[in-house]
């Protein structure tokens, strides 16, 4: 994806793990933003917005916490 490096800044790798949301499973519970606030943002309806680019190692650690914490199992890491 050509936009990856641009949107992620110089530190962000081109390829690598990405955080994904299953928008059907998601019910806007919001635990993800509490455990991974640096990676996950909420829209004005309370649904998570995640970066479309590859994650940095620090972000992967946070994302992993969000994946495990989601009661709807709506998040996963794509490696």
């Amino acid at each position: 994806m050509s936009g990856g490096a641009m949107s992620g800044g110089a530190m962000s790798p081109e390829s690598g793990p990405r955080l994904r949301v299953d928008p059907i499973a998601c019910a806007a519970v919001g635990v993800c933003v509490q455990v991974a606030g640096a990676v996950v943002d909420l829209d004005r309806w309370g649904y998570p917005v995640v970066p479309t680019r590859a994650l940095t190692p620090g972000e992967v650690e946070q994302s992993d916490r969000a994946v495990r914490a989601c009661p709807r199992r709506a998040l996963w890491l794509e490696r």
Binding site: D22, P23, C26, A28, D43
Partner: protein, 436 residues
């Protein structure tokens, strides 16, 4: 119209390619795809006399289709060989679907094809099924498309009587809904679930595999039936052109220009339109003057940030209000959400009501800002592409009708405001009343 000297493309030495329609038709502006002057459905004997028997499908056909450069005619324009090759890489049971549930309310080209030449589509489905070793072959329709169903069932009966070799073909009707033609919704329905889009996510390790489904538009399969018989891919496409009094379905070369196609349907007899909606309600608005010379070629359209989608061409006359049209369409699309994903469930109604207020000249500046923000918040965040189509349509309307948007935002709706021109289904129109 100017006469241009155009470079003649290199002609293939093969027999000239026949089209997929018997002839173009004129239809009412909305409603089922029954033409004003009924067309006789092509009989099996005439079909075979015209084209000969179809060959048997096999892996070699994928190469033939690849060389022909066939891309999907359902709106996505994905190379057909790419989909078939990826299907061939797996061995679990496969269902092949001929998708005749065209959901764009203006579009009538698939239903027209099914009414005129069901055998061509059935040949294509049989070829796909044999090539991919499918377990099941299905023609998928909207439940209210009685004309297509009648033509298909009569054609299948003819084939049984003639003992034509080939896979057994089922005709299955899905609900009458905008999303009933979405490929994951079809797959879900045929696997015994509800007709709703599903998420594309990796399967849980312990979950049972869901049956594989390959969905191909009916026009694409009709073209497969011709290519498999040795005809060159003629680089033509079916389009539905909306006129002031009717719709017309015709087959046009991809080199034809948008202006010439609209002129051929009588759409330029009065003043040229101010704008055109390309691809349908989930498509893109474009300024007429900027696209009148656009060839009906997807690559050319994408070069200008547009897409031809499934070939819907809906011109908007001078004096009509683009903001009102966009608001009505957005309202329709919001009502057609599967309501499974938050950004679509909450975002589309928010966008629709923001546009409605803008259409009425009652959207203050901060409301316009919110519209822009919501467009960004909704695009790309659904399981299916429904919210993407809606935001694309709205964003393009905001650009193409920028001057009107400005006037409306200052509380001065244009003269055409409130008078809808495009045939947006009545349920959405009803919701367009004054905002209390």
């Amino acid at each position: 119209m100017t006469v241009e000297m155009m470079a003649v493309p290199l002609q293939a030495a093969e027999t000239p390619s026949p089209g997929v329609l018997v002839h173009p038709v004129r239809l009412p502006r909305s409603g089922p795809a029954d033409p004003v002057h009924p067309v006789t459905t092509e009989r099996l004997a005439d079909h075979v006399a015209r084209l000969g028997q179809r060959p048997r499908g096999g892996p070699g056909l994928v190469d033939v289709i690849e060389r022909a450069g066939l891309t999907g005619h359902g709106g996505g324009h994905v190379p057909t060989a790419l989909k078939w090759r990826s299907a061939l890489r797996r061995v679990d049971p496969l269902t092949v679907v001929a998708n005749g549930a065209e959901s764009e309310p203006v579009s009538a080209k698939d239903a027209t094809l099914l009414r005129q030449r069901p055998h061509l589509v059935l040949d294509g489905l049989a070829l796909a099924s044999e090539t991919l070793g499918a377990r099941r072959a299905v023609v998928w329709l909207h439940a209210d498309d009685a004309g297509s169903r009648r033509a298909l069932e009569a054609a299948l009966a003819e084939r049984r009587r003639a003992r034509l070799p080939g896979p057994a073909i089922e005709v299955v009707a899905g609900p009458v809904h905008y999303l009933a033609g979405e490929s994951t919704a079809i797959a879900n329905a045929l696997a015994g679930g509800p007709t709703l889009p599903t998420s594309r996510r990796p399967r849980e390790p312990d979950a049972a595999p869901s049956p594989r489904t390959l969905v191909q538009n009916v026009e694409t399969l009709a073209r497969v039936a011709l290519i498999a018989r040795g005809f060159a891919n003629p680089q033509v496409t079916l389009v539905t052109v909306l006129g002031p009094h009717d719709r017309q379905v015709l087959e046009v070369p991809r080199t034809a220009r948008l202006g010439d196609v609209v002129a051929a349907t009588g759409g330029l007899r009065a003043a040229p339109p101010q704008a055109v909606l390309l691809g349908g309600f989930g498509g893109t608005w474009a300024d007429w003057a900027a696209v009148a010379d656009l060839p009906l070629d997807e690559a050319a359209a994408r070069g200008r940030g547009l897409s031809l989608g499934a070939g819907v061409i809906a011109p908007l006359r001078q004096g009509a209000c683009g903001v009102t049209e966009a608001a009505a369409i957005a309202t329709y699309l919001a009502g057609m959400s599967a309501q499974q994903c938050g950004p679509c469930l909450f975002g589309l109604p928010a966008l629709a009501s923001g546009l409605q207020r803008l259409a009425l000249g009652r959207a203050p500046r901060r409301e316009r800002r919110r519209l822009d923000e919501d467009l960004g918040a909704v695009a790309g965040r659904g399981a299916c592409h429904h919210p993407d189509g809606a935001t694309r349509m709205i964003a393009s309307a905001m650009t193409v009708f920028a001057r009107d948007v400005e006037a409306h935002a200052h509380g001065r709706p244009c003269a055409g405001a409130g008078h809808m021109v495009l045939p947006v289904p009545a349920s959405a129109r009803a919701k367009m009343g004054p905002v209390r």
